[in-house]
Symmetry: C2
Subunit: 198 residues, 2 copies
């Protein structure tokens, strides 16, 4: 008897091929010129396969990033918590700097950010599905530092996250300076001084 | 004798009409869909008039922003310097918050930022012609505060400007929170704490 291919496994293979194709193509041609046709051709599936799972181009691209993030170092999302907030944040910011210096990672994220800027609906989806949960994990680490008396107990954690991450985000996005481990450390030190409980 | 129109004045009127049209259209349709044809039609001039003065769409749009900036509150670029660095920076950041809350201002700047993210050459022009000189004026104010012993003398002024402005930039660009006078003040206070000479 001829063995049939497993439909669930084939389905997962197609899904992965579509997400990989979307991520590659958005880096290569940009979001504006990306088409469902091109994703289907690159992934070796029919257009209808894509439309069966995703309602729009934006939805495919966003899932492609979610998959990247799930496969990456932020898989569990929780930040390290050794009790030494300076060391832990330096570890995290150095890893972030390394990610943004990696073309395979930063290319697609750059394309997604350019799109989000002009598309409030995609921005809201991005916040809800990706940025929001990651920010909550970061705030958990800051709350732990607050409990340990290392950060001001009344600090505004939204502002705190912006102080820590926005300089790096802007430097990366506008290409205004080098992203180095020293830069990561300097940011953490300025952040801790600003958030000092004293 | 029939009076001839003054060619220099007519030229300046056309130039201004082209810059206004570019700024309006980039807000309305986005940079990607903006064409020299559409700018010419809106401005009531021929395409050749535009190409006589500017080599590319990017060059017209960038000059449109430079004109906006020259006509705006940053005309002189120098920041206020009353000797009270906290008060002066709050004045500046509150004005910046107000600008980014104004659709007539923020729409074109948003379109330009989305383009800059994907276009390193335009980003370099933007830095050289617009962001660079503005940043130098901001650093002059910080240097004055350093001389007055209000900011750490060894502070990295590039990092300092990022700490002060990038949180606002990110919040505006990603629409992640409200831009209010209180937010401007909170940013200045966190910044001064981070840069404290003590």
């Amino acid at each position: 008897m001829v063995k049939q291919p497993n439909p669930a496994r084939r389905s997962e293979r197609s899904r992965q091929a579509i997400l990989d194709a979307a991520r590659e193509l958005v880096s290569e041609v940009g979001y504006a010129k990306l088409t469902i046709e091109a994703i289907a051709a690159r992934a070796g599936v029919g257009k209808q396969t894509i439309y069966r799972w995703w309602p729009s181009k934006g939805a495919v691209v966003l899932d492609a990033f979610l998959a990247l993030s799930e496969a990456g170092p932020e898989r569990s999302m929780a930040l390290p918590d050794t009790g030494d907030v300076a060391a832990d944040l330096k570890t995290v910011m150095r890893a972030t700097v390394a990610e943004f210096a990696d073309p395979a990672f930063e290319g697609p994220i750059r394309a997604l950010n350019a799109e989000i800027i002009n598309d409030p609906a995609l921005a809201a989806q991005y916040r809800e599905k990706l940025a929001g949960p990651v920010d909550e994990a970061k705030k958990d680490r800051l709350r732990s530092a607050q409990r340990a008396g290392q950060l001001a107990a009344d600090a505004d954690l939204d502002l705190a996250l912006e102080l820590l991450y926005a300089p790096l985000y802007q430097r990366w996005l506008l290409r205004t300076g080098p992203l180095t481990p020293d830069y990561a450390d300097a940011l953490v030190e300025a952040f801790l001084k600003a958030m000092n409980p004293a």
